[in-house]
Symmetry: C2
Subunit: 114 residues, 2 copies
Amino acid sequence: MKKSVYKELVAASSRPMVLSILTGGENYGYEILKQVKLLSGGEVEWSDGMLYPVLHRLERDGMITGRWELTEKGRRRKYYRLTDRGKGQLARDRAGWRAVHGALEMSWGGGRHV
Amino acid sequence: MKKSVYKELVAASSRPMVLSILTGGENYGYEILKQVKLLSGGEVEWSDGMLYPVLHRLERDGMITGRWELTEKGRRRKYYRLTDRGKGQLARDRAGWRAVHGALEMSWGGGRHV
DNA sequence: CCATGTACCTTGTCATGTAAGGTATGGGAT
DNA sequence: ATCCCATACCTTACATGACAAGGTACATGG
């Protein structure tokens, strides 16, 4: 299994990633897990034991709202939808991420040629 | 003071940022703090209570080595230098960061044009 | 003389990933 | 029929790490 992503990086990206995926419409945990893997070209793989608590916290904090649904095949899923509050949080998270990413790129660039 | 950067993001970026700054040569804590602010255009400000433990961990883990020095003005500073081990860690951290950043950019892109 | 800047450090608290476990159902292979 | 894998959710014990707040010490300037 892949192990290039250290846990602090998972912690930093989980909220914006989930919120961002939900801008594409309602979605549920298990599918989000696969989306993350897909979006990263297989380089990032989240554990479900990390994702579900994230979803619960986001719901608790009003960033997303969930509703249970049963598929015809008898599987239960909890679909989540982004709230306005969640959209605001996503915007702030993106701003923070970009500030830090920019600083890192600067430091990696060795400082020269802008 | 600025507060756009949430703490998980600080945790995710502190190690690669410090190691990266040290690729530019020996440096000490207080100066690294100012470098980070400079590199981010003032958008990222670290607390010293977070940085010093980071430096201690990096030294403990052999990523950097420190030596004490006294300036003519009577100030004591602990200068740190990057080790080979630290260079390897930096490379891995960059790879991890880029994988996650790429996935985030993909999700932010809304899915259009690849 | 007193505030600010330089320069280091530590402790208590809280948040969060990981590892490991659990529950339950459906479908395909033997 | 039985077994295993995928689907789909959940939880707990543990370690890690930022933050707030405190501390030490000295130099400089008003």
